[in-house]
């Protein structure tokens, strides 16, 4: 099993209709079709899902956790984006 021939795939499973696909783990497979079949056998042996996505791990671009604070910083000082920022005068209903 040479890694170049059997690349890594990330597996996402939708547990039930109405929920989003959630990352459950990864596996190796030579192509997308086999990756799907392997994912079915590996991650849904007990009816854990109604839909599976497989994505080549090499196709995922990730933000680096080491920079996460700088990267996400711009959102930190904008408290006015949250409804709790605003004072609601007494007696106002349905707001």
């Amino acid at each position: 099993m040479s890694t170049e021939h059997t690349p890594l795939w990330e597996v996402f499973v939708r547990a039930r209709r109405g929920l989003s696909h959630t990352h459950v783990g990864s596996l190796h497979a030579p192509d997308a079709e086999l990756a799907l079949r392997n994912a079915r056998d590996l991650y849904t042996r007990r009816q854990e899902g109604v839909s599976i996505w497989v994505v080549p791990a090499s196709a995922i671009t990730a933000s680096s956790p080491d920079e996460k604070d700088a990267f996400f910083d711009p959102a930190a000082d904008k408290v006015y984006r949250h409804p709790t920022f605003y004072e609601v005068p007494d007696g106002v209903a349905h707001l």
Binding site: M1, H5, D31, R45, P65, D66, D69
Partner: protein, 352 residues
């Protein structure tokens, strides 16, 4: 679906399953609990320590001490190897299981073991080691697997004893790993433990059926328990006084309890379960100690454990030979699948 033959309350592993769910809830809760003012900043080591202290999870691309990474790779890989080699003692009985139902159950169980191995290899790979390297480490004997799988399965009752005692000991060992500080390992263990509970119950049911069958069947069940009891106790590893990896692993929250604590917990669980089976645990010194609120018991033979780990158990050579042969004989399947994938890629290129 096969595991519901016993009422949930007193079923073996029932309480442990609750603990797995509690660990899963704690994982979610810890993730939602923000750490105020926590910044990765300059001091990566301090940040790592902070995450561990807060009972939160280290994730694959976080900075981590090299020794933490190495310890985890070694532990997760050996755990994965154990699942893969562990398919053999039970696979030995698939063709001879006494009924179609038992055969279907055993097949599902052995398939689960393969699945557990794959979850764990995937978790190990997030630490930067490749699958090829891991397979090679096993096949070349440079990494070990659990010593328990070097014992033979001589009778059908052994399949029951493995489920009850070996999977039972594995669960006691593994439930605390659901709270391990490394995220991918903790999440894989939650999945594994939920499935292991079915394994333990199916083993218990096999023994229960045999123990309430003919005298010969009961004797077969007792013989299996006699042979598997001490090797199962040895699964918890050397006594705390001789354990080399424990202290640092505890500090890193990879390990949560000592070998001896877990072994005691296993013994205390088994006594009542053996009574329900009507089978005897082969330890004349086994008795309740009121002062300790735990059972006194005879320690397994740790010299034997060391010999088996070093490769001198009854089946070490057979297990490794089988694994190497299976890997070599499966090569054409891997090559064919890779060739097919390459052909399809070329076709796409031509079409594009």
């Amino acid at each position: 679906m096969y595991g519901n033959d016993f009422p949930a309350g007193d079923a073996p592993g029932g309480g442990l399953l609750d603990e797995v769910e509690a660990a899963e809830a704690a994982l979610r809760e810890a993730a939602e609990r923000g750490r105020r003012g926590a910044t990765a900043g300059e001091d990566l080591a301090a940040y790592f320590a902070e995450v561990i202290d807060a009972d939160q999870k280290i994730e694959p691309r976080d900075w981590m001490p090299e020794a933490y990474r190495k310890t985890l790779i070694r532990q997760i890989a050996q755990h994965a190897h154990s699942e893969i080699i562990g398919m053999q003692p039970e696979g030995n009985w698939i063709s001879r299981a006494p009924s179609l139902k038992r055969k279907a159950i055993l097949l599902a169980k052995v398939q689960d073991e393969a699945g557990h191995g794959l979850y764990l290899y995937a978790a190990a790979e997030t630490l930067g080691v490749s699958r090829d390297e891991l397979v090679d480490l096993l096949l070349s004997g440079r990494q070990k697997y659990s010593s328990i799988f070097n014992y033979p399965t001589l009778t059908w009752a052994d399949v029951g004893a493995i489920g009850w005692l070996v999977d039972g000991a594995a669960i006691v060992n593994q439930v605390p790993l659901c709270r391990c500080s490394y995220g991918p390992y903790a999440r894989a263990m939650i999945r594994v433990c939920k499935e292991e509970s079915f394994h333990q119950r199916q083993g218990y049911e096999i023994l229960h059926t045999l123990a309430h069958g003919t005298p010969a069947q009961k004797a077969m069940a007792q013989d299996a328990v006699d042979r598997w009891w001490y090797p199962s106790l040895a699964m918890f590893g050397p006594p705390d006084s001789d354990s080399t990896h424990s202290a640092q692993s505890m500090a890193w929250k990879i390990k949560r309890f000592s070998n001896d604590e877990l072994r005691q917990r296993f013994v205390d669980m088994c006594v009542q379960q053996a009574e329900v089976l009507g089978l005897t645990i082969p330890d004349p010194a086994l008795r309740w100690n009121d002062e300790r609120q735990a059972y006194d018991y005879t320690q397994p033979d740790y010299d034997e454990l060391m010999r088996v780990i070093k490769g001198e158990g009854p089946c070490n050579r057979q297990r490794m030979e089988h694994r190497r042969r299976a890997h070599a004989e499966g090569a054409w399947v891997r090559e064919a699948a890779a060739a097919y994938a390459a052909k399809q890629r070329n076709k796409e290129k031509v079409a594009a």
